[in-house]
Subunit: 389 residues, 2 copies
Amino acid sequence: MFGNFTYCNPTKLYFGEDSLNNLKTELRKYGKNVVLVYGGGSIKKNGIYDDVLRILTESGKNVAEISGVMPNPTLSKLREGIEIAREHQADLLLAVGGGSVCDYSKAVSVSVNCEEDPWEKYFVRFEEPECRLIPVGCVLTMVGTGSEMNAGSVITNEETKQKIGHVFASEDVMPRFTVLNPVYTMTLPEYQMVAGIYDIFNHICEQYFSGEDDNTSDYISEGLMRSVIHSSRAAVKDPQNYEARSNLMWTATWALNTLISKGKTTDWMVHMLGQAAGGYTGATHGMTLAAVSLPYYRYIMPYGLAKFVRFAENVWGIAPAGKTQEQIAAEGLAAMENWMKEIGVVMKLSELGVSKDMLEDLADRTIPLKGGYKELSRDEIIRVFRESL
Amino acid sequence: MFGNFTYCNPTKLYFGEDSLNNLKTELRKYGKNVVLVYGGGSIKKNGIYDDVLRILTESGKNVAEISGVMPNPTLSKLREGIEIAREHQADLLLAVGGGSVCDYSKAVSVSVNCEEDPWEKYFVRFEEPECRLIPVGCVLTMVGTGSEMNAGSVITNEETKQKIGHVFASEDVMPRFTVLNPVYTMTLPEYQMVAGIYDIFNHICEQYFSGEDDNTSDYISEGLMRSVIHSSRAAVKDPQNYEARSNLMWTATWALNTLISKGKTTDWMVHMLGQAAGGYTGATHGMTLAAVSLPYYRYIMPYGLAKFVRFAENVWGIAPAGKTQEQIAAEGLAAMENWMKEIGVVMKLSELGVSKDMLEDLADRTIPLKGGYKELSRDEIIRVFRESL
């Protein structure tokens, strides 16, 4: 727990089966003009759209809509949303959906009153907003990204095929409130659920596999990882298991709301590799992370051996007696591999549309980071991609 | 993770050796009149008082003081502070000290504009404030209570010898900001440090030893407990170990800011027993908790056996092979006892001024709670007290 840091997460979370009942109370805090933001229309099939619209109507709100936000929200979609929010003079952006819809709404929030080009300012120069933000509220229907309680946003520039995330420093970018109803996640197809589960797990890994200090954050991370492993098995066995679904939903929020990165370095290289593949192919985020994770971790393991040993023992319960450090660490990653196969994530980039001839291009689109145990060269990035095929 | 709940902890935390530098930025958000609240004057010896006063002066603040806040803040001291804050027309209460000073400042905050008697309203009827609150900021110099990021306050009525805590429901009662500098805790006498360490650990226990559901909060608790055990050993060995001191400080905050109680029942019976003893004798909070803990846990163990087995395995690494559930659970509590002795907490109420003839009186002052594995009768309360002697 070294260094100086600030922690502030003011997002108000309403959790549980009845949590949507709190939306009306929250809506009172904002003006009349609400822009409802959602994705491909699944919320119209499962009734969430009707429930939310009824509450908005009963609250006397004047509602405009941004619909069709895609899994990897594009820059042109962002520009479209900014125009709608401007025309409607939005007092609140209400995101109803998964992480992409939340991410997108935050990008609209910081862009509506921004006079510069938002792509250049926020996703190329990584600057903070200086303009007045439009408040964002969320009704989460899919878990994984943690976007419901953080200041992160990921946008894909479809022209340059770049998928870039920016975690803003200011807590003002965070949603003001989020409704977390585990029941909403139960209608999700298994592929999406499993991708979300791996996304959660990998968020924890990215913050855990870095640094050598003895840090409370790493102890919390181990607890969260064990909870994800346990609940994911129960959720895959029975997708209607409310307890498993609610543990996953809660874990997802805490896996990426800055808590477990406090006082330590972090890595995020799996996200750099995965997002390069995702930006290129449009593949589901969590699955791209899954496909590159083990080749990456096995490659960097010798450089952060002590942490991989700790991971094996504390997360996977590997008994250390009579084994070398390398054996313990390798058994930990093997246990992780077995769990990944058990819950059914995609283990190969080739299954996500990536082929050998794309590797140079993917390497060009991969931003190398310095936070992990080994800073990857371009050749090493290609090597990890090749082993992920 | 069952039930509906709300989570909102807006307190902004500034952590680290240089964290006091952020005080000036925070002070800009409040009006001119600041009431500085502190305890017995140790902050004058170690220089923290001078540093804080310099920043207040440089920020152009008009400063009044409430000094001499005692370890168990009394009702008469509260009434005195309310008068000072009223006369000074306080815009901010700046608590510089440990949990008692933070607790006390929150009690002043909710009472300054309250027309009813604060003891009756907040500590007898447990009502929420309806009046305008005075914002509270904290500079923490002692760890343990978690008061720096929660809405709790404990006040002792010296006439009736009642020590009563109220955790307010509203996040408005929480400090607006807290400065957490681990270096400040290094000048603390070992007795105080160890009492604080056990206070942290017991806060986690109170939330952990309840319920039988599979809950993410319990996994986070296990991580926090392991971090406390590890860091406490390092801090007792070398009180100047910055890493250990900072892990303890951070763990204390997260042990009692509502996170690890979300979605589950909690117990708090050790606090009821300990506070009864503390209110009667004035003994240090953490030590009263330590003295009653093992007799209480050993008594309720059969009623919550599965959780005590989990505690033994996941927190203390007890190997289960070839043992009965009772044996595993008992070994976990024995490991806890060894650790308590190792760090040097007080293991007996008799060492804290409690004698056999007080037991009936203590039982009268102990509020029995229903959240734990076994609701204690008056006889059982006396029995636990007797075994704590």
